[in-house]
């Protein structure tokens, strides 16, 4: 319990101290014009609230849809690979090759196919999120205990029953690992898509603020992006803790 508190308290207090230092430095006139005082950034977040909210909504929508699409694709691919073991190496190789294409290089290809549009934004995000979830699926599905596998064999379970009742539940810890890695990537994917010239989104807001030298707005949108990334990761950790109750963890503490 105490370790959980210090997990939050330690980085939290470092963050607060840094903020305070910047505020003091700004008040003393030591900060360059590119770094606004934290208080000014917060003021801007309140004053610009409506604009920020509009763009934030659009980014969250892209990230969420892309993330969901990646889960759907990784899940289907994982199911297929589990039912046809021969596909595993091929699927992982293709996945690795696709994953090695820089996301910035994928964007133009998608734009040629789909234009600068919602489907393009969502697909780009899904492309970035797919790989970690897929690898988590494959590793997890392959990690079932040998004896449990033999149990399902003796019971004459169908391949589908094996997937739903054995492989998937035992893969969950790995799948959650993939999901947690992919969640901040969803925000990144949405931003990259927005930089290609969409009309809404925090990515657009950042670019415009940069060109117009609106430092408070730029820092405010960066701050929101950080909150989204960290927040999505944190939310998933919470869901993981609820889904994988204590009996799953190695130390086996009863809930």
């Amino acid at each position: 319990m105490s370790s959980r508190i210090s997990n939050v308290a330690l980085p939290g207090s470092v963050f607060l101290l840094l903020t305070l230092a910047f505020e003091l430095a700004g008040l003393a006139g030591l900060l360059p014009p590119t770094i606004p005082r934290p208080v000014k950034v917060v003021e801007n977040m309140v004053g610009d609230g409506a604009v920020l909210w509009l763009h934030c909504r659009s980014t969250v929508l892209t990230a969420a849809c892309g993330y969901a699409m990646a889960i759907g694709a990784a899940f289907s691919a994982g199911f297929l690979v589990h039912q046809h073991k021969a596909l595993e190496t091929a699927a992982l190789t293709i996945g690795t090759v696709l994953n090695s294409i820089p996301i910035i290089a994928v964007a133009p290809i998608l734009i040629i196919w789909m234009g600068v549009s919602w489907p393009m934004r969502i697909t780009l995000t899904a492309f970035l999120c797919f790989f970690p979830i897929f690898v988590g699926m494959i590793q997890g599905l392959g990690a079932t205990e040998r004896n449990a596998g033999e149990l399902f064999l003796v019971l004459a379970a169908t391949p589908a029953q094996r997937f739903w009742k054995l492989a998937l539940p035992s893969a969950l810890p790995y799948i959650f690992l993939g999901l947690k890695i992919a969640a901040p990537l969803a925000v990144l994917g949405a931003l990259v898509a927005e930089w290609t010239g969409t009309e809404t989104g925090l990515g657009v807001l950042m670019i415009n603020a940069m060109f117009n030298f609106q430092m408070e707005r730029l820092w405010a949108s960066v701050l929101i992006v950080c909150i989204l990334s960290a927040g999505s990761y944190g939310a998933l950790s919470l869901i993981e803790r609820v889904v994988l109750t204590a009996d799953r963890t190695a130390d086996g503490i009863a809930p």
């Binding site: 019971l155 029953q161 009996d247």
Partner: protein, 261 residues
């Protein structure tokens, strides 16, 4: 029905291109309702033999039949119950859900069978722990849950791979009695691997003593003790006689092995 017949079964494993004969020409018979015990040195192929009977592994040569049919038929008809050395409960399921698993897999809605998991929980003495997760149970309780699970489809042949290996003597004796009671109630045919000579004699009608390298049957000991068995019988001359004979056979092997080396 539950006749088990193993006819000149051999198993050769390919370990990194090297052929290793795990079992050589094993033949054994168990009549319907008989209790057989397999005993022998570590690595002589007891688990392998059980796996072949359960159709988890195919024999290299020879044949196995359960009620005259191939093991794969018996397996698909759910006539085989298997208790693994470690309980192999699914940690995310409760005790009741674990015991229900075979019913879910058969997926036929038979109202009579739906009652069975709870009755079996009672039979193995786990009442009150239906909702517990395996991690909240002791090793012996987990093993009892695994036994209940192996019985839920009313198999005709029960295969047990050192089911009580990890238990202390007292729990082990209690489990032995429980298993004998279950056997008497269900008239099931059982084949159990054990490392304990006393346990083998106490439980079995027929003991198959195996020798190693290659795994083969060194002796078959018939135990002529009345059922139901009780601990009082342990001082019976028939009991001590059988124990001595099994021990002698195992020790002779060791002596031979020493000469080999």
């Amino acid at each position: 029905m539950g006749r088990l017949s193993i006819d000149r079964v051999s198993k050769v494993f390919d370990i990194d291109g090297r052929q290793v004969q795990a079992l050589k020409e094993i033949s054994l018979e168990l009549e319907d309702g008989q209790f057989g015990a397999l005993i022998g040195p570590s690595g002589c192929g007891k688990s392998t033999l059980l796996r072949m009977v359960a159709d988890i592994l195919p024999p290299t040569s020879g044949s196995i039949s359960i009620d005259g049919a191939h093991p794969s038929q018996a397996r698909k008809d759910h006539r085989i119950g298997f208790v693994f050395q470690d309980a192999t409960l699914l940690p995310w399921r409760t005790v009741l859900e674990n015991i229900r698993l075979p019913l879910e897999i058969v997926a036929e809605r038979d109202p009579d069978r739906e009652k069975l998991p709870r009755e079996l929980i009672e039979l193995v003495g786990l009442s009150g722990f239906e909702k517990a997760k395996p991690s909240q149970l002791s090793g012996g309780m987990q093993q009892r849950a695994a036994i209940a699970r192996s019985l839920v489809l009313s198999p005709r042949v029960l295969l047990l791979d050192e089911p009580f290996g990890a238990l202390d003597d007292i729990t082990r004796s209690r489990m032995n009695l429980e298993l004998l009671r279950i056997r008497a109630e269900t008239k099931i045919t059982a084949l159990m691997v054990t490392h304990s000579i006393q346990e083998a004699v106490f439980m079995a009608d027929r003991i198959f003593v195996l020798a190693a390298r290659p795994g083969r049957i060194a002796d078959v000991v018939e135990v002529g003790l009345d059922r139901p068995r009780s601990f009082a019988q342990m001082s019976d001359p028939a009991f001590t006689g059988a124990v001595d004979r099994v021990r002698q056979c195992l020790f002779d092997q060791q002596a031979m092995a020493a000469i080999d080396v």
